[in-house]
Symmetry: C2
Subunit: 272 residues, 2 copies
């Protein structure tokens, strides 16, 4: 493999992780990016840790087979439940989105009262609570499972009264706790940023993992030229385990991403 | 294998197919039932036909390995998209839920105006339209994709204003078409029967596939004693590809089913 051409591998349960890809693309314009969205098995948020670990391991293997020289787990659920296992098994630089998101929350809060919304598996793992307390002990953390937001987003109901009501129901209890910072602990949620900001009001800061993940990745990568001159640099290749639904186009447009190729590989072909 | 002890195999993408198991249990109290819910890969309703066929084939193979002597595809999405393929590959009696559901709709309608709600994949397959027209040509059929209902049910929001609003949004257009019969073309939806009836009013009859599937199964099975005397008869064994969430308990309680065992087998172990 030509030095510098090996891609940075990024994966998510579906296409929500493209929010992280967009941040990495901005920070590393010359790098080749290889994204895998496990659309044949999305969503991960309600599944068991055992299954989430198995899927994450299969995908990591597939990305490493395709010469990825670093792995970003751009899925909060997989980061919360599988990162530790992957860390023990993978030799290349490996980064999840929980610790960058926690750092963003700590940097944003003024009153130390932080809200977290995420999938059931992410919230029940307490991964964000632990990561935030590790950086700044004594923060008050209010977390809530928001399992309907991913289906609502994937249906394209971004600006919709149904979505507004679901958001209101999830967030009202933590607003009463006077949080000043809300972590969007699922890579889908930034697409609901306007609707969520409308619900929480202007005094609550929304944070997500994407920008901090890109910064953290810069620290992790071995020091080497990032904008090589070869013409096959700066490509984005997307692998999906099932042909994409309408949500892929919505996400690519919102994030201003133009993939150079989109390839379908069955989930069964990832293992082994 | 002892004659008569071989189970009837039933499968669904998740646990919604237990509505069909309950009807089969009533019709065949002495039969052993083996149910497989693919909870590690649920929901199927937004996936491609290729993936739905692959998953259905893996599950059928796993049930046949466990001596199932007949297969019921208790998932509307898999019935609509994979039944034809399975029919060409499986030697035992095989039954889907689309044709029994279509027969129930035709028997119920008085004015020949029939509504259908189902998952995206089921509706786009037009399987119900074709099955209804084959029985009674000239029916007017109005179908709508209702992708949010499964997530709402799995969250336990059975009696909830959010669910009522989603139902109203999906059904209002077909009520204006003066349907007198509505097919619940997803095994989850009977659990929303009360909420849906409230929305459509008393003049629209709700039909689902469960009872007709059990009747059709009686016609398909070779004529043999159904209530053998052996003590290990009449058992219900549940296989899941991921540990169950709270929805399994809700469904078992609502359907008054008591499984004799619940076993977890990883989806990867189904293939081959």
């Amino acid at each position: 493999v030509k030095k510098g051409a090996a891609p940075l591998g990024v994966f998510d349960s579906g296409v929500g992780g493209l929010t992280v890809v967009a941040a990495i693309r901005s920070a590393f314009p010359g790098e080749n990016l290889l994204y895998l969205g496990d659309t044949a098995r999305v969503p991960y948020g309600g599944r068991s840790q055992e299954t989430i670990v198995r899927y994450s391991r299969e995908i990591s293997g597939a990305l490493l087979q395709r010469e990825a020289r670093a792995l970003v787990v751009a899925c909060n659920t997989a980061s919360a439940l599988a990162l530790e296992t992957l860390q023990a098994e993978v030799a290349c630089p490996l980064l999840g989105v929980v610790s960058p998101g926690a750092a963003a929350a700590v940097a944003a809060t003024r009153n130390g009262r932080i809200g977290i919304i995420g999938t059931r598996a992410t919230i029940r793992s307490h991964a964000y609570d632990l990561a935030i307390q590790a950086i700044k002990p004594g923060c008050a953390i209010y977390s809530v499972e928001a399992p309907l937001l991913v289906p609502l987003i994937e249906e394209g109901l971004i600006e919709d009264p149904l979505t507004d009501q679901a958001i209101h129901r999830y967030l009202q209890p933590m607003l009463e706790q006077e949080i000043d910072t809300l972590v969007l602990a699922c890579t889908h949620y930034p697409l609901l940023g306007l609707a969520i900001q409308r619900c929480v009001g202007p005094c609550v800061r929304l944070v997500n993992s994407a920008d901090n993940t890109a910064k953290e990745l810069a620290r992790l990568l071995p020091d080497e030229p990032r904008i090589p001159s070869s013409s096959d640099q700066g490509k984005l290749k997307i692998l999906l385990t099932d042909p994409p639904g309408p949500f892929l186009e919505i996400a690519l447009r919102e994030l201003q991403l133009s993939p150079d190729s989109i390839e379908i590989i069955p989930a069964d072909a990832l293992a082994g």
